[in-house]
Amino acid sequence: MDEINVKKLRSFAVRIRMGTLEAIHSLGSGHLGGSLSIADVLAVLYGREMKVDPKNPGWPERDKLVCSKGHAGPAVYSTLANLGFIPYEELKTLNRPGTRLPSHCDRNKTPGVDMTTGSLGQGTSLAAGMALGDRLRGYSSRTFLIVGDGESNEGQVWEAFSFAAAKKLSNLVVLLDWNKRQLDGYTDDVLPMGDYVAKFNAFGFDTVKVDGNNVEELAKALERTRQGGDKPYAIILDTVKGAGIPEVAETVMNHSYTVDDDRFRRYMAGLEAQLQELEG
């Protein structure tokens, strides 16, 4: 196993949260909860696992990310801005007229965004097609697919998972963001989806569950997926919707969240304190 630089990954995750907050504050509100829950997995993906080139975002043999829960765009944009795919200042153009950073991910607008998503469920099949395409081209590239737990209410998700297993797409890694909440409240109240590990195993995936807000656990689980084989991988991310900013995490209805100047100052101060502790 490669050495895991936990501090570096945790710092990156904090920086992703900071950029996300910047973007959403610039507009006053946005999809904050579900962006924060995936900040740690984005940090490990882009900070350690994925081969990408900010100078050549369209490089065909890169690893690809499909953020099928497209409303988490702000977290993806912050990740890309931190890596230099786009200027950091551009984060403040989120959802402004003519922006390259729309609410939902758009591969034709943002350098580094590999697929357009937003209508929930559709990213799953797109990712399966991308992974299949890479395999047919003979690339060693992998496709990482972030799916929301609420999103998995959509039937297309399970069509895509059946397909991925049938075609033995071991270059596809599904990261299910089990943050237990969706727009109308707790997923168990809206539409309970049962045991994800059992479900994915039954669908033919190599499945593990990790603390999805713990970069070390994420790094280990992702490293395991490098080994190939004949099954697609699923990692169930046990996360907190709003993770990293306690006041947001404690608000049940945090899918869309207002970030006024006061909240922005307080939340940013909290994140800066986290960064200070990590980086000294």
Binding site: P60, Q122, S125, L126, L132, Q156
Partner: protein, 321 residues
């Protein structure tokens, strides 16, 4: 080369045989062409070739939304997917996927929807799309084709492979009357004048082209000179040809195997209302659902016949006076 060869006789080649031969041919000529189906390979004769070429033909099972998404994912990697299933499942069953994963995300795919409208015959109302053209027309940048005969089908399918956007070809699997000679090229977006005429023009697509030709012959016997124009490309419509024929004749009939809402009649009258308002009449399904039966019965049931076209031509000529 394009040669019109209409005699009213049925073409010896079935359209499903054309699909069964042409899809493998296109895949063999271009390594980026990839074919996806939703458990209907045996319906168009591709199953045997597909089994021998598992990297070029992907059976997605009965999961059309996923099939379209996978095709779009492949398109994003530079592949040129050709997707097939029956018309209703190739349109309304996976419409959000066609619209967003395809059109909006700029992933170019070719979709073949077999057995449109009354050509769904014994599969009945559940399988009988009278709305597929309307749905595809509403996708920005799309191409929508109602194939006229097996020879045209081969030509348009070949052209679609490298054409950007979401492309939809609707075609019945069974016999069509020959309209074009084998090997004819029918450029997408160009109307074809099949018959000259001066009193009225009949714009038709798909199986209705044959009916329109029969109608024009019958009208000629009554001293009415009706032109017949094949508008197989419903989008982008050949507006120039539509306006020019409307100006020349001053009376228009549109014939289509589709609901009158959202199909060829809407496309034609949209152009004419702005550019050349003339009396128009429509031969189409009058906002009804499909039902089961042989094609001949269904054409009569829904008024998709040469007789009805002739009647509507006489009606529009009354208005013209």
């Amino acid at each position: 080369m394009m040669k019109i060869e209409y005699t009213g006789a049925m073409d010896p080649r079935l359209c499903k045989a054309v699909l069964g031969e042409t899809i493998p041919k296109l895949a063999e000529a271009d390594p980026d062409v990839i074919y996806l189906d939703a458990d209907l390979m045996n319906c168009i004769g591709t199953a045997k070739w597909a089994a021998a070429h598992p990297d070029r033909a992907i059976n997605c099972g009965i999961a059309e939304a996923n099939m379209v998404g996978v095709a779009c994912g492949l398109a994003s990697a530079g592949f040129k997917p050709i997707v097939h299933t029956f018309g209703p499942f190739a349109s309304r069953r996976c419409y959000d996927q066609l619209f967003l994963s395809g059109g909006y995300a700029r992933n170019s795919i070719t979709v073949i929807g077999t057995d449109p409208g009354v050509t769904a015959t014994m599969n009945g109302g559940t399988h009988m799309p009278f709305e597929d053209v309307a749905l595809y027309r509403a996708i920005p940048g799309s191409t929508v084709i109602d194939a006229t005969d097996p020879n045209m089908l081969e030509s348009v399918l070949r052209q679609c492979v490298d054409r950007p956007g979401v492309k939809y070809i609707r075609v019945g699997r069974k016999q069509y009357a020959t309209v074009y000679a084998p090997g004819s090229e029918t450029p997408i977006g160009k109307a074809v004048t099949l018959r000259e005429g001066s009193d009225a023009v009949i714009f038709a697509a798909g199986i209705m082209v044959h009916e329109a030709m029969q109608a024009a012959q019958a009208l000629e016997a009554e001293g009415i000179s009706a032109a017949v124009v094949d508008l197989f490309t419903i989008k982008p419509l050949d507006a120039e040809a539509v306006v020019s024929w409307a100006q020349k004749t001053g009376a228009v009939v549109v014939a289509e195997n589709h609901n009158r809402n959202g199909g060829l009649y809407d496309a034609v009258t949209q152009v004419l209302s702005e550019e050349c308002p003339v009396p128009c009449r429509c031969v189409a399904v009058e906002d009804e659902f499909g039902e089961v039966g042989p094609q001949g019965y269904l054409q009569k049931r829904f008024g998709l016949t040469a007789e009805h076209i002739a009647q509507q031509t006489c009606a529009v000529l009354e208005r013209k006076k």
